[in-house]
């Protein structure tokens, strides 16, 4: 049973930019990764789900409820970590988290206190709980954002670029936390970091220019590229020639030289070797400039 059903979601801004164009997804419990380049519409999508913006068109159902109408119902079971947020100046972490907890509906004081303390521990902010959040560093603020997203009993957690600014160990803690809670609730993770999606998400989609260009399980999608991914090391001059002729999906510098990845059914040229596709390749393959080649899931 797909808890979150999205059908035909569209939004156009007043300046004519079409942020979302007939997006349809079915998202079950568990972690769901949303990949896409800048301007793909990921943040707009997240904001609509977080009930901060209204879509022009489309049907959004969560647990069978139409969330365009039952907004307060959704908010009472929502956790949202925006990509960019600020805080009231001069309010301590403990106080601000408590404040947000009340707004989320944790009216019972002892329980609220307990959860606030627990979250501060889990995000390693407990020893800074008396400090003003406005004085936190970027990473600390990010952790605070994670903490507030988990207040109450969220059934739909939306995290937008959550690991930006976190060091590797913090990133791991975060992944542990998400995985723990993510079993029985819907967690939508929007990110640029393909590895995170690879590590954490059993389901994913790629959003490009407001449209879903890819959807499915990561390993299945990766598998579909098997045998069709080639790589070669070239010089800059050769690169320009090559890009005109064949489907280069990505380039990378290795030891100072350029390594290209190409998708083709057969070996596209001399000195190309077959390569094991990664999720990154899947992702790059869907981006525009690939000549419209779509990777079919098996």
């Amino acid at each position: 049973m797909q808890r979150l059903k999205i059908q035909g979601l569209s939004k156009t801004y007043s300046n004519g930019v079409r942020a979302l164009d007939q997006v349809s997804l079915e998202i079950p419990n568990g972690m769901f990764g949303l990949l896409g380049p800048n301007g793909a519409g990921k943040s707009t999508f997240m904001r609509i789900l977080a009930t901060l913006t209204r879509a022009d068109d489309g049907l959004l159902l969560f647990d069978g409820q139409d969330i365009t109408r039952e907004t307060d119902w959704l908010r009472s079971r929502l956790g949202y970590l925006p990509q960019d947020f600020g805080v009231y100046p001069g309010v301590s972490a403990e106080n601000l988290l408590d404040h947000l907890a009340v707004l989320k509906g944790l009216v019972h004081k002892p329980e609220r206190r307990e959860q606030v303390a627990a979250l501060l521990h889990r995000t390693n902010l407990y020893q800074h709980r008396k400090q003003a959040v406005s004085t936190f560093s970027g990473g600390m603020r990010q952790r605070f954002g994670i903490a507030q997203a988990l207040l109450g009993n969220p059934q739909l957690v939306i995290v937008d670029e959550p690991t930006a600014g976190l060091d590797p160990s913090e990133r791991n803690r975060f992944h542990d936390l998400l995985s723990e809670i993510g079993e029985h609730i819907v967690v939508i993770l929007s990110t640029h970091i393909v590895d995170d999606v690879h590590d954490l998400c059993p389901q994913m989609a790629v959003l490009v220019s407001g449209r879903v260009v890819l959807e499915g399980k990561p390993d299945v999608l990766t598998h579909s590229l098997k045998g069709r991914l080639w790589r070669k090391t070239v010089t800059p001059a050769e690169l320009a020639e090559m890009q005109a002729a064949i489907d280069v999906i990505s380039t990378r510098r290795v030891a100072g030289r350029i390594q290209v990845h190409v998708v083709a059914d057969a070996c596209p040229g001399t000195a190309f070797e077959a390569s094991d596709p990664g999720l990154e390749d899947v992702y790059f393959a869907t981006l525009p400039g690939t000549g419209g080649k779509e990777v079919q899931p098996c």
Binding site: L103, L106, Q148, N153
Partner: protein, 1174 residues
């Protein structure tokens, strides 16, 4: 590089919405303002004076433009977190500073220049007759002299604040404070900038010119007395005080900028990153495991909790920084305290009032400056979530937007109440420090209602405006604009209180009634405006939902609760508005009436011809007056007997009734109504048989007047729960044309197309005295006072009746008052003196009693016997002047006479003098009066002033009069220069109070000094015996003739000069030599300069002096405002040259030499009439 940076800076400024709006606003103001009134019709609309005025005024408002620009632009790096990027470039400290400062100053100055450009457009808009030649210098020079320094000053304060504090709040605070400080200082310094300021005699001192950063005081002080031709042609001169002012303030501005340059933190980013900010708290408690917890988001408990949390947070933030809050409140206390202390000592002639709770509260009701702070805080409140960036976290919770909006609004209300509490405390403190022990806590607490409620309503309005305008700065600007429109609404033509937000008729306080009289209309208007505000609040809440969470795509399918609430409130508001309008227009005859210039002009045009129609005269008045204080109305039933004294038969009775009165019935005997004009209350009755000369007729009538708090307050026609006063003679039906309805003001007459008021003396020389009887009833417990003798008094049906009857004939004057009075009665030389007063107002009664006795003694001895056996004085709560006299009765105003502090240090008992003055009117006005027209006031007011001075002199000594005369002289010159018209000589004085009061008193005193008291009083006694009732009224010239009789040539010449000419002096005295003499004496050689000018024709003509002036020497230094002791030398010297040298011998211990010690010479500059011996 600097040029490119500067271009970017200017571009950034130009892109601010607030800049565009401010620029547009100043442009429009520049276009419109030349059409105002800058001193009369002949001033060109593009005269240098006008342009300078406009630029001056607008430079004051650049405070706001600078503040907004400073906040938006100067602090942009910190605000938008661009600092890391900017400061990691190679930009140097100086270029950064210079470009930013330059941008701010240029932007604001540009706005200023746009105003000047707007003013220049008048050349194309106004008709050529109103324009003079166009000179670019007329625009450029004021911009450079007034505009630029003003911009630099404001800009430097804003800039320095921004750079040094890097906090937007401080920038706003600086802006608001600048404004408040400037205006408070103007009020205190009696700056000519303030509309209500008393013209300072001698012009503003150089200190006041110096300390005004905008140069206003210099401008107004200098040009105040400029005649039309100078205003049209001359640029503002660079007088030394002015140049000093400009240099001073430019230096101060530059110093501030230098200071900020040296000390501002450049490339030292915020202390946020320093370790001190991050003290970790030890992890004491063991880690709690995270588990999810069920939330409760439906139901009242949740909404209530959320509301409480948001409210607490918002209140904490509003009061946030304890330093700022304390500073703001402290400044508020300081400036209000100063203003209160000032106002207490601002009675006439600088007399101090008691610091009563009532007087202080009445002052404290004005809290308008708080609106600026509310504006700022409201903006912060509304945009807080967006500005801090916490918006997505907050609004993804199910918190109800209504609860949110209400919590925010309520927090602002809490702040307002805190401010009112501080405000109250100021009043209490001032009262305490002034030593007045009776605290009326109820009155102080009522400030929450009278001052707090309008502020709360304004806060709601401001919140509403800033909700619908998403841009923060634009929202503030528009709010300020709208507030300005409402506050200055009257000047913009918004008359009705139903159109001016949260305003109600002025609250007047009296110890008799509290705010009683005004509070009824205040309550209703506040109900109306509260409903309007709530309706706006509903709409605002609804829009906030939209702003916070995105618009509802489909239309309004279900009625949103906020909109329903709004609609209900709007409907109720309309209901309240209708009720109020109905109350205002309840009486068919209530228009704004005689204070409405258009009505007055129409009346004159339509009914002036009546003045020449023969009309009867009233000979007998028999009334039954019933007052209903609690319901604020009264009725009069009665009859008047009229007689035809015109010598011709009368066929048409033209009867008029005042617009404030409702005519219930009017029934002349044997006449029928032929015309009726409701607008002007005029009715025409044709007599069945012409009324022959000498014949009489009775007219029965009944009137009713509703004086509820909704009517425009008229101090002469008021019925209050306690303390009613009605000048009844003005409100009974009257015959013929009422010249009192005409517009007096020359300018207003011109504007309404009326000819100059013809000023001819009435030909009617008869005193038309009447028999008078009035049975007055009022609430039991109140006492009614009116003219005549109280024959009988009884109680019936819960009401008290008073039967007053005049024993002999009296003039047609019969005002009455009723109140709960206490009375002091004394019998003296066969006359009963009574003073009716508020039970608590005992302090000044003895002085008044003494004055009445002394004045009666003097009058009886010198002018003629006072015909009655009683003289009564009654206290009334409100009155436009100080007191007024009726036959045998004086009405005296509460505030100036009863609430002035007799232990006051000015050393002159004004209360005594006033009571003496009013008693003197029993001769001069009641017993003798000139026909109405020029010179009437000479025989009433000037003679009363003279008598007052004589009585005071007898009681307190001649030197006691000095401070009083000094003030009168200064007032004479001050009012004289403020008036546009030529001064009329004393013997024909009309409509120029400074002539018949100030000059009249001083001139008669001088004549007494020269001719002698006996001579003067003989002439006055003649006036009474030859022209008092029942004989014919005197011509004012007869006083002049009487005074000349028995005088020698030079004395007669003086009499002519004093009465028939307008002569002023400018004298001074210097010490040339001071030689010690044996036997403890000194020989002083004095130089006395006498400049005598004849201004009768309007153009000053120097005259050769031929006058005697006193010289006095004292053996100590003289304190101004205090009566000097007896002089050690006092002699009158005669001067016949402009410069004279005089030698006098005085005692060794002499210290001060004074010319004209009694200050009756009408000397325009009296500061140089005193010299100190070293």
């Amino acid at each position: 590089m600097l040029a490119a940076m500067f271009r970017f800076e200017m571009g950034y400024h130009f892109r601010q919405v607030s800049f565009c709006v401010a620029a547009l606003l100043f442009l429009i103001l520049g276009v419109l303002m030349p059409f105002g009134n800058f001193g009369g019709e002949e001033i060109h609309r593009n005269a240098p004076h006008v342009i300078n005025f406009i630029i001056c005024l607008l430079s004051l408002f650049t405070i706001f433009v600078s503040t907004l620009a400073g906040a938006a632009v100067v602090l942009r790096d910190a605000q938008h977190r661009m600092e890391p990027l900017i400061f990691s470039t190679s930009i140097g400290r100086l270029p950064y500073f210079v470009v930013r400062l330059g941008g701010l100053l240029t932007a604001v100055f540009l706005v200023m220049c746009l105003a000047a450009a707007g003013a220049a457009t008048v050349t194309f808009i106004a008709p050529a007759s109103q324009l003079g030649p166009f000179h670019l210098s007329y625009y450029v020079v004021p911009l450079l002299l007034f505009g630029l320094p003003g911009v630099v000053f404001c800009g430097s304060i804003v800039f320095a604040t921004a750079l040094l504090t890097r906090n937007i709040r401080w920038v706003y605070t600086a802006g608001v404070l600048m404004f408040i400080i400037y205006f408070t200082a103007s009020i205190l310094g009696n700056s000519p900038v303030m509309a209500g300021s008393i013209p300072a005699p001698g012009g503003p001192g150089w200190v006041s010119v110096l300390i005004d950063p905008f140069g206003f005081t210099a401008f107004f002080g200098e040009t105040m007395n400029w005649p039309v031709w100078r205003r049209n042609q001359e640029l503002f001169p660079l007088t030394p005080p002015f140049v000093a002012n400009r240099l001073l303030w430019t230096t101060i501005s530059l110093a501030m900028l230098a200071l900020s340059y040296n000390r501002f933190k450049f490339r030292t980013l915020s202390e946020k990153d320093t370790a001190s900010a991050r003290k970790a708290v030890a992890q004491t408690a063991p880690a709690t495991a995270y588990r999810t917890i069920r939330t409760l988001t439906n139901g009242q408990h949740y909404h209530w909790q959320a509301f409480r949390r948001v409210l607490t947070l918002e209140i904490k933030t509003l009061f946030g920084n304890p330093v700022m809050t304390t500073l703001i409140f402290a400044l508020w206390v300081f400036f209000n305290a100063i203003e209160l202390f000032e106002n207490l000592s601002n009675g006439p002639y600088g007399v101090r009032s008691y610091a009563t709770s009532g007087i202080l509260t009445e002052q404290l009701v004005a809290v308008r400056p708080a609106l600026l702070l509310i504006l700022f805080y409201a903006s912060e409140l509304i945009h807080r979530e967006k500005t801090t960036g916490i918006h997505p976290l907050i609004f993804s919770t199910p918190v109800s937007v209504t609860a949110f909006a209400m919590a925010k609004s309520l927090s602002l209300v809490v702040w307002i109440m805190a401010l009112i509490t501080v405000h109250m405390a100021v009043g209490v403190a001032v009262q305490w420090f002034s030593g007045f022990g009776q605290f009326e806590w109820g009155t102080y607490l009522s400030l929450y209602y009278y001052a707090g409620l309008p502020l709360v309503l304004y806060a709601i309005l401001i919140i509403f405006i800033q909700t619908i305008i998403p841009n923060k700065y634009l929202g503030m600007l528009i709010s300020a604009l709208i507030i300005g429109i409402f506050i200055f609404g009257r000047k913009l033509g918004l008359e009705s209180y139903l159109t001016r937000f949260a305003t109600a008729p002025r609250l007047r306080y009296s110890d008799f009634d509290g705010f009683g009289h005004s509070s009824l209309s205040f309550t209703w208007y506040m109900r109306y405006w509260t409903l309007v505000a709530l309706a706006l609040a509903g709409i605002g809440t609804d829009m906030w939902a939209g702003n916070a969470r995105g618009r509802m795509r489909t239309g309004i399918t279900s009625a949103r609760p906020a909109m329903v609430f709004s609609s209900v409130c709007a409907l109720l508001a309309i209901g309240a508005g209708i009720f109020i309008q109905y109350q205002n227009g309840l009486s068919a005859h209530n228009r704004i009436g005689t204070t409405n210039a258009a009505w007055q002009a129409q009346y004159e045009r339509k009914y002036k011809p009546l003045a020449s129609t023969p009309q009867p005269v009233i000979t007998d008045v028999n009334l039954q007056t019933d007052l209903f204080p609690a319901d604020q109305y009264y009725t009069v039933k009665g009859s008047v007997r009229i007689k035809n004294k015109s010598g011709q038969p009368i066929t048409m009775l033209c009867i008029g009734i005042d617009p404030e009165v409702e005519l219930v019935e009017l029934a002349p005997e044997r006449a029928s109504r032929v015309s009726s004009d409701e607008t002007f209350g005029q009715r025409g009755y044709r007599t069945d048989v012409p009324l022959a000369p000498g014949a009489e007729m009775t007219i029965h009538f009944e009137i009713r007047a509703d004086r509820s708090g909704f009517k425009t307050f008229n101090a002469e026609h008021s019925v209050a729960a306690n303390g009613s006063y009605i000048e009844l003679e003005k409100y009974l039906p009257h015959f013929g044309y009422r010249a009192a309805y005409e517009i007096e003001n020359v300018e207003e007459r011109r504007q309404n197309g009326l000819p100059v008021r013809g000023n001819i003396q009435s030909t009617d020389r008869e005193y038309h005295f009447i028999h008078f009887q009035n049975i007055i009833s009022t609430e039991a417990g109140q006492q009614a006072i009116t003219v005549g003798t109280l024959v009988k008094s009884w109680v019936r049906g819960g009401r008290r009746y008073f039967h007053y009857q005049s024993k002999d004939l009296i003039p047609y004057m019969f005002a009455l008052s009723t109140a709960r009075y206490a009375v002091k009665t004394e019998k003296y030389k066969g006359t009963t003196f009574r003073i009716y007063h508020h039970a608590d107002h005992r302090q000044n009664v003895p002085a008044m009693m003494q004055a009445m006795k002394d004045a009666l003694d003097y009058g009886n001895a010198h002018f003629g016997t006072y015909p009655r056996h009683e003289l009564t004085l009654a206290e009334i709560p409100h009155y436009p002047g100080s007191a007024t006299a009726y036959p045998g009765l004086i009405f005296s105003q509460e505030r100036t006479n009863f609430r002035s502090d007799p232990g006051d240090s000015t050393g002159f008992n004004f209360t005594y003098a006033t009571a003496a003055h009013e008693t003197a009117h029993q001769w001069w006005a009641v017993r003798v009066a000139a026909p109405s027209g020029p010179g009437y006031a000479l025989l009433t007011e000037s003679l009363a002033k003279y008598t007052e001075a004589m009585v005071t002199e007898k009681r307190f000594g001649k030197m006691y009069l000095r401070p009083y005369h000094v003030k009168d002289s200064q007032l004479y010159f001050a009012y004289r220069s403020a008036t546009a018209e030529r001064e009329i000589p004393l013997w024909q004085t009309t409509d120029q109070p400074f002539v018949h009061y100030q000059k009249g008193g001083l001139a008669l005193f001088r004549l007494k000094e020269v001719l002698g008291e006996t001579h003067l009083n003989r002439a006055l006694r003649e006036l009474v015996t030859l022209h008092g009732y029942p004989l014919q009224k005197p011509d004012p010239a007869s006083l002049v003739d009487a005074l000349k009789r028995g005088a020698n040539t030079s004395q007669a010449r003086l009499v002519d000069e004093v009465f028939k000419k307008v002569i002023v002096f400018d004298n001074d005295i210097k010490i040339l030599n001071n030689k010690a003499l044996p036997d403890n004496k000194r020989l002083l050689t004095l130089e006395i300069n006498v400049r005598k000018t004849d201004e009768t024709s309007g153009k000053p003509v120097p005259l050769k002096p031929d006058d005697a002036i006193d010289i006095a020497v004292f053996n100590l230094q003289i304190t101004p405002n205090v009566a000097p002791p007896k002089p050690v030398y006092l002699r009158r010297h005669h001067f016949s040259k402009n410069r004279s040298v005089v030698q006098i011998v005085v005692p060794r211990n002499s210290e001060t030499v004074m010319l004209d010690p009694f200050s009756y010479m009408l000397d325009g500059s009296d500061h140089n009439n005193i010299v100190l011996l070293k």
